[in-house]
Point group: C2
Chain length 158, copies 2
């Protein structure tokens, strides 16, 4: 979990980040001429941005619908007990579950917010059993079904 404040990034770095965040397959040559730098300079900066942890990873974003997981479900989970080891066990459980695409530990009445990618309601029902009922330390959970994923994986403003 890096913590540095974005302070050693100049305008060139920011422009590179803005670009690769939207499309990381743009040739460095193209980025270079767009921002007025040489291709090797872009390469060096990209390498640094990755090594220094500004770029966490490079991925292909799938169309969940096309790939057979058309249902996005958002679940709010309230815990029974806030003991650290129990919380860690829950985080582990959520982390390891392939259908859990995102998991946040949050302030407020609800302790976890999960975003799931599932095939259908049947799969979700089965998941609730293993994840919440049998999993332990779950006081209650509330289910929201996404009718429309208005925005997904938007770029971080830099």
């Amino acid at each position: 979990m890096a913590r540095s404040i974005a302070t050693d990034l100049d305008e060139f770095d920011l422009k590179i980040l803005r670009q690769v965040q939207v499309d990381n397959q743009t040739p460095q040559r193209v980025i270079a001429e767009k921002i007025g730098l040489s291709p090797p300079a872009v390469a060096r900066r990209l390498q640094h941005l990755k090594d220094a942890g500004y770029i966490r990873n490079n991925i292909a974003v799938l169309n969940e619908t096309a790939v057979g997981r058309p249902l996005t479900i958002i679940v709010h989970v309230a815990t029974e007990n806030e003991r650290l080891d129990l919380l860690d066990a829950m985080k582990d459980r959520f982390n390891r579950c392939p259908q859990v695409q995102q998991c946040y530990y949050v302030t407020g009445e609800m302790d976890f917010i999960l975003i799931l990618n599932v095939r259908d309601m049947t799969e979700y029902n089965e998941l609730t059993r293993t994840l919440f009922f049998e999993g332990g330390n779950v006081r209650s959970f509330r289910t929201c079904v996404s009718m429309e994923n208005v925005k997904t994986y938007g770029p971080v403003p830099v």
Copy 2:
């Protein structure tokens, strides 16, 4: 918004998807030998997967903390009125806001769930003004601050 059921994907395609979803900079040669195919075959399949919409895009995932947006905030928004044009206006507003990383239109009491990347609470406070108070059609909203992003950008199970 693609809709096809994942039916014309064979095991090779799935293996390719599993790989690029975690790292799309793996050389096609490496993918090829991993799954027992030739590099051109992998290239052709990747091209098809993109053209056919299975792969939505290829991006670099930034470390929001390192890049100066350390705060993840999840907001639940309830609408005043469910008229279609008003809802569309809201979607537009959320979509265009750079700090809104994700936006879901959901069933239940709360109509929108937003995930924001912001610099600090001051920025969030200002955002709430333009996004919720002045934006219109917002009955109420509830704010959750993420204390830990336990899992982000998890792969879709394929």
